[in-house]
């Protein structure tokens, strides 16, 4: 029988674990790819992760906080997840891998409204239907070339 041994809690192993925590509204992105992990501190008393809310009133924040605490429980230390606005989250914080993952599920990665292109056919002939989509962080677009409606992450 093989017993899983929890890795030694270090900033690096904790970051690796965080790379497996998915955003509940965009479950193709980890919190690391989304760029919301501001800092990770580890000492023998506990683990502290500070995250940056994407939007001030993001209702997914409590879920994200709980998912992070759950995932890090294996380290056997108290986990504290705090939020800060000290550095504003901006859409540029999404990683290249994160942008590809978004495009793969038909969500245009964030760019200024005039630079958005269709995630299906790559055409730039698109129109914004509404700045406000199904979540606070998304807008609604329509592609004139392939006639598909699609969503784009808001650039903030």
């Amino acid at each position: 029988m093989v017993t899983e041994v929890a890795p030694e809690p270090t900033v690096e192993t904790v970051r690796r674990a965080l790379a497996e925590v998915l955003d509940p509204e965009l479950p193709v992105l980890s919190v690391v790819d989304l760029g919301i992990v501001h800092s990770v501190d580890v000492d023998r008393h506990g683990i502290r992760v500070v995250i940056l809310p994407t939007f001030v009133g993001c209702p997914a924040l409590d879920v994200i906080r709980a998912s992070i605490a759950d995932r890090l429980a294996e380290f056997g230390l108290p986990v504290q997840v705090d939020t800060t606005f000290e550095v504003p989250w901006t859409s540029e914080r999404i990683s290249a891998a994160g942008r590809r993952a978004l495009a793969a599920v038909g969500i245009a990665p964030p760019s200024e409204p005039e630079a958005v292109s269709c995630p299906f056919c790559a055409s730039a002939s698109v129109v914004m239907d509404s700045a406000f989509g199904p979540t606070q962080c998304r807008s609604l677009y329509y592609c004139r070339a392939c006639r598909q409606p699609f969503e784009a992450l808001k650039a903030v």
Binding site: F132, P134, Q136, V156
Partner: protein, 267 residues
């Protein structure tokens, strides 16, 4: 860093904020504004004129309520109140300090657009005077709010133009709404009693009266292109954030209803 650190070091023991008179008034007025307009907008969820607009106004409402929550959070730090919810829900109507611009009831869609336009443009000017606030938690939050409000301005600007340039019922209703809001249009800039201290401490960059002049110049320029009448001067500047009247008493009953049904419950 040095200047802001000094402000933080003067914090009242037990309280986590700058020891500057008027910070609580400022935060309360901003949080109440965002909370009341957010709750009013949320009344359109499910009944907006277009599905797309239903989503947009609901998302806007969610943004504003989120902004209120963050501002109430800072206010709780400053005053030692239990939490944001206590501040949002556990006060009597007379204790709210939102601008009277937001006291006219939901009204029709044109009223919502007129109110949103006057509010969002005012809020943008106010936030502009707080981005360099000497208290870092406020400056950081304001920096974030400005990024989101950009989309709000874009949305309401398009609607104002759409209603203002469509003759007949759309334009008539917009004119009626602007007329009703009339002398309450500029009440976001009601001077705060603690304003001199806020200016001295470098929290607010410029007096409300100056901000109001800037705001009026911007609004008048837009209104002139749409041939809309300029907002009249504030009727009673001393009461711009008090005496909220019957429509707010009703709204207060609505937004506190669930909370009152089981005080102290954990949801």
């Amino acid at each position: 860093m040095t200047a802001s650190r000094q402000v933080a070091d003067r914090a009242t023991p037990g309280h986590n904020g700058p020891n500057v008179d008027g910070v609580d008034e400022l935060l309360r007025s901003m949080a109440d504004d965002e909370f009341v307009i957010g709750f009013s907008d949320s009344e359109w969820t499910g009944i907006a004129p277009l599905l797309e607009e239903d989503i947009a106004i609901s998302s806007l409402a969610q943004d504003e309520l989120g902004h209120a929550q963050a501002l109430y959070g800072l206010l709780a730090d400053v005053t030692g109140a239990a939490d944001a919810d206590t501040l949002a829900y556990d006060r009597e109507p007379a204790e709210y300090r939102h601008a009277r611009l937001l006291d006219h009831g939901r009204g029709d869609w044109a009223m919502t657009i007129a109110r949103r336009y006057l509010y969002e443009t005012s809020d943008a000017v106010r936030l502009g005077a707080l981005t360099t606030a000497s208290w870092p938690p406020l400056a950081d939050l304001v920096g974030k709010l400005v990024r989101e409000e950009r989309y709000h301005l874009m949305h309401v600007g398009l609607w104002l133009e759409r209603l203002g340039t469509t003759s007949g019922e759309p334009r008539d209703r917009l004119l009626a709404a602007l007329d009703t809001l009339g002398p309450d249009s500029g009440t976001v800039f009601t001077p705060l009693p603690g304003e001199p201290a806020l200016l001295d401490a470098g929290i607010l960059a410029r007096p409300m009266a100056e901000l109001e002049r800037d705001w009026r110049a911007g609004v008048v320029a837009t209104f002139e292109t749409l041939r809309l009448p300029a907002p009249p001067p504030t009727r009673d500047p001393a009461r711009g954030r008090t005496d909220h009247g019957v429509p707010f008493a009703w709204l207060h009953g609505e937004f506190t209803m669930v909370r009152r049904s089981d005080p102290g419950a954990t949801w």
